[in-house]
Amino acid sequence: MSDPVSDQITRPPDGRAPEEQPRWRQDFPIDQHVEQYVTRREFTKFMVLTSVAFVVGQFWIAAQSLLRRKESAPGLEIARLADLPVGGSLIFDYPEPGQACILVRTGEREAVAFSQLCTHLSCPVIAQADQGRFHCPCHNGNFDLATGQPLSGPPRRPLPRVRLEIRGEHVYAVAMEGMAV
């Protein structure tokens, strides 16, 4: 620092020469306000480092979301349209065996599918297509049939969605969206 000299040098209150000062003042020649300035500057630098860490965290989450989209599970045939009436539902395992999902046919060539596990405490939900919702009997939770968003009851998070493709007469599950880690 090239400050004015007066900024940096401690002036003893008695005005005597530095050599005549008591030993303790010679041992600790830094003024309180100089020390205060330096410690705050160092703390400011530390806060900026913390800020860098937060940005790294944000981009890590963003990268994870990209990776997850790429790593989506392969297509799996789950139903034939002819076997499922409009408003009907079907349970299937996706993406791994034992991970129950529920498919509901909502129109002639439209269907939706979600994980069957309630996002509250993992009870299996049941489809109530006539009322436009999935119902969880454990604590009276309800989810929107079209979006999987929670409608009422304890659940706060939406049901993870299974992305579907209808090819000809067959319905395929092609990816899992919004699965909690």
Binding site: S2, Y37, R40, Q58, I61
Partner: protein
């Protein structure tokens, strides 16, 4: 940010650094909130907010770095 034209005394710089420190702490708290909100949305399956939140956090970092650079220039 342009370099300050006149040289400040240590007392003035202490006041300036207090102001800058308060601003930076506020921005860092904002970033912490942003990170927790994004994490919660991401685990809830909402990935739409992830990139805008990352860019917003980057903008906050830009502000912080700008303030820090200003601080270094004060000392020159």
């Amino acid at each position: 940010m342009s370099a300050p034209r006149r040289r400040f005394g240590l007392h003035q710089r202490t006041i300036i650094i207090n102001g800058i420190l308060a601003l930076i702490v506020l921005i860092v708290i904002l970033q912490l909130w942003l990170l927790t909100a994004t994490m919660s949305a991401y685990l809830g399956g909402n990935t739409v907010v992830v990139w805008p939140a990352a860019l917003a956090s980057l903008a906050c970092l830009g502000l912080n770095v700008g303030l820090l650079v200003y601080l270094f220039r004060l000392e020159r």
